[in-house]
C-alpha cells in the first residue's frame, strides 16, 4: 500500500513538471511515408490472386495503418494511461461486437438461414 501511495505521489509531483508532449515533425513525416507505402502495398497485393489470403492481408495492412495513426498521429503512444485504457476499451468493445455477432452465425446450421 505504502509503495503504491509513494508511487502515486511521485507521479503526481512529476506531472506538474512534465511538459505537454510535442511530437516532432520528423515522426509525422516518417509515419506519413509508411502510410503511403502501405497503401501502395495493399493495392498491389489486391492484384495478386491469393484466395482467402486477399482479405486477410488487406485487413492486416489496414490494422497496421490504423495502429500507426492511433499511436503517432493521435499521439496515444505519448498520452496518459487513462487515454490508453480508453482506446483499448474502444477496441475491446468493437471486438466484442464483431466476435459475438460472428460466434452466433458460425454456431448456426449453415445454409438454413
Amino acid at each position: 500500500m505504502s509503495e503504491h501511495t509513494e508511487h502515486g505521489t511521485q507521479q503526481g509531483a512529476g506531472h506538474g513538471e512534465h511538459e505537454h508532449h510535442v511530437t516532432p515533425p520528423i515522426v509525422y513525416m516518417i509515419i506519413f511515408g509508411c502510410l503511403l507505402v502501405l497503401t501502395g502495398v495493399t493495392v498491389g497485393a489486391s492484384f495478386i490472386e491469393m484466395g482467402v489470403f486477399n482479405p486477410i492481408i488487406a485487413l492486416a495492412i489496414g490494422v497496421v495503418k490504423a495502429t500507426l495513426v492511433v499511436l503517432f498521429f493521435m499521439g496515444v503512444k505519448y498520452s496518459t494511461k487513462l487515454t490508453k485504457l480508453t482506446v483499448f476499451a474502444g477496441l475491446f468493445t468493437f471486438l466484442v461486437l464483431i466476435g459475438m455477432t460472428l460466434s452466433d452465425y458460425i454456431s448456426r446450421a449453415w445454409g438454413r438461414w
Binding site: 513525416m29 486477399n54 485487413l59 495513426v69 503517432f72 496518459t80 487513462l82 464483431i98
Partner: protein
C-alpha cells in the same frame, strides 16, 4: 470586460495569459485544478466521443461482414463496379490530410501562427478534394442506376457482357435472386461512405471556423486543446476510410 471575477468561464481563449484574479491562464476553467488536468479531462472526453463513433461505424462494418458472407457472389460482382484507382487516390488524399493536420497540431503546440493557418488550409483543401473524387464516384453510380431505390438497375449483373466494369473483371451473369442482393451491397456502400463523407463535411466546416480563429492567433497562445481534439476527430475519420477502402474496393477483386 474579462476582468469580471464572477463570470469568466466563457472568456475567449485568445485573450491574455491572466485576467486579473489568481495566477492561472484565462483559458483554464475554474473547476479544474491545473491546465494539465483540464487538458487530460478534455482529451479523455474526446476519446469517449470517439468510442461512440467506433461503435457507430462498427455496426455498419458488422452488417457488411455478415451480408458479404450471406450474399457473397452478389457482393463480389457489385464490388467490381468500384474503381480501385479513385479509391487509391482518395486514400492518398485522406492520409495526406491527416499528415497536414498532425503538422497543424505541431504548429499550434510550438506557437507558429502562419504555419498553423497553412496546415489547416491544406487540410481543408485536401478534405474538399476527397469529397470531389467521392462525388465523381457517386455520379458514376447514379448514371448506371446503382443507387438503391426505385430506379435500381440489375443490368450490370444479369448481363455483365454489356457492362464495361463487369467485363473487365470477367464477371459471369448472376441468377436473378442473387443479382437482386447487389442492391444490398450498394446500400451498405452508400451508407458507409455517405456517413464517412458526412463526417468529412462536418470536419471541413469546423476547419473553416478554425482557420478563421487561427488567423486571429487563437490557438498559438498556449491553448491548443481545440486543435488537438479536432486532430483526433480528423484522424479517426481517416482510420474509418483506412478500413472502408480495402473492404469495399480491394478484397473482392479476385473472387469470382
Amino acid at each position: 470586460m474579462s476582468d469580471s471575477t464572477a463570470i469568466t468561464h466563457g472568456a475567449p481563449e485568445a485573450q491574455g495569459i491572466t485576467h486579473g484574479h489568481g495566477e492561472h491562464p484565462s483559458y483554464q476553467r475554474h473547476h479544474f485544478e491545473s491546465v494539465e488536468q483540464q487538458a487530460d479531462a478534455t482529451n479523455f472526453a474526446m476519446w469517449l466521443f470517439l468510442l461512440t463513433e467506433i461503435m457507430f461505424f462498427g455496426g455498419l462494418f458488422t452488417a457488411y461482414l455478415i451480408y458479404r458472407n450471406w450474399y457473397y457472389p452478389a457482393f463480389v460482382a457489385a464490388s467490381h463496379q468500384l474503381n480501385v484507382w479513385w479509391g487509391t487516390a482518395n486514400t492518398g488524399v485522406l492520409i495526406s490530410s491527416s499528415f497536414t493536420m498532425a503538422m497543424g497540431v505541431w504548429c499550434a503546440e510550438t506557437r507558429r501562427r502562419s504555419g498553423l493557418v497553412l496546415c489547416l488550409v491544406l487540410t481543408f483543401i485536401l478534405g474538399l478534394v476527397f469529397l470531389g473524387i467521392k462525388s465523381i464516384e457517386y455520379s458514376e453510380k447514379i448514371e448506371k442506376h446503382h443507387v438503391p431505390g426505385f430506379h435500381y438497375s440489375l443490368n450490370s449483373f444479369l448481363h455483365p457482357e454489356t457492362d464495361k466494369e463487369a467485363t473487365a473483371a470477367g464477371d459471369k451473369a448472376l441468377p436473378l435472386d442473387m443479382a437482386r442482393h447487389t442492391e444490398l451491397y450498394f446500400f451498405l456502400y452508400f451508407a458507409m461512405t455517405g456517413m464517412h463523407a458526412l463526417h468529412m463535411i462536418i470536419g471541413i466546416a469546423i476547419l473553416g471556423y478554425m482557420i478563421f480563429r487561427a488567423r486571429a492567433g487563437a490557438y498559438t497562445a498556449g491553448h491548443v486543446t481545440f486543435v488537438e481534439n479536432f486532430g483526433l476527430y480528423w484522424h479517426f475519420v481517416d482510420i474509418v476510410w483506412i478500413f472502408l477502402f480495402p473492404l469495399l474496393y480491394l478484397i473482392s477483386r479476385h473472387a469470382n
